[in-house]
């Protein structure tokens, strides 16, 4: 079951293809974040 509306979002620190790190904490207090999980790149759809 995914998390629910109203739950605290777990913090994360992830890297992009250029090895830059992105954390949820980077946006706290000034930006909403849309986190889109997607399935492996070369699957159809």
């Amino acid at each position: 079951m995914p998390l629910k509306v109203g739950d605290p979002a777990p913090d994360f620190t992830l890297r992009d293809a250029n090895r830059n790190t992105v954390s949820l904490a980077d946006f706290k207090g000034h930006k909403n974040v849309v986190l889109a999980f997607y399935i492996l790149a070369f699957t159809p759809g």
Binding site: R15, N32, A41
Partner: protein, 105 residues
């Protein structure tokens, strides 16, 4: 696929003060090539190899070992403001996420 839909409306998210992040389980080289091919204009980040974020957000499935297609909207205070789940309608992810973002304070 849903990333194309986000790409096409990314300026609307920017206007609404939201940062879009795509999270995959792909290793870095695959993901970089993919971002280039789709001309994605927002960060794609990798959850490989531990898949910790997918597990923390409860979108991980053991079989097949892939995350479900789920989009979370997180407000400025770090609280989940929206959850969009669809395996079949890719456009709904960006459309509903944008709507939720606009309604957040």
């Amino acid at each position: 696929m849903e990333l194309k839909c986000f790409r096409d409306v990314i300026s609307d998210f920017e206007e609404a003060g939201a940062q879009v992040l795509g999270v995959s389980v792909d290793p870095f080289p695959t993901q970089g090539a993919f971002a280039k091919e789709l001309a994605v204009n927002f960060p794609l980040v990798s959850d490989w190899p531990a898949y910790k974020t997918a597990k923390d957000y409860a979108v991980w499935r053991a079989s097949p070992p892939l995350p479900a297609r789920v989009t979370y909207v997180i407000d400025k205070e770090g609280i989940i403001g929206g959850v969009i789940e669809s395996e079949t309608d890719m456009e709904v992810h960006s459309r509903e996420a944008l709507q939720i973002v606009k309604e957040l304070p």
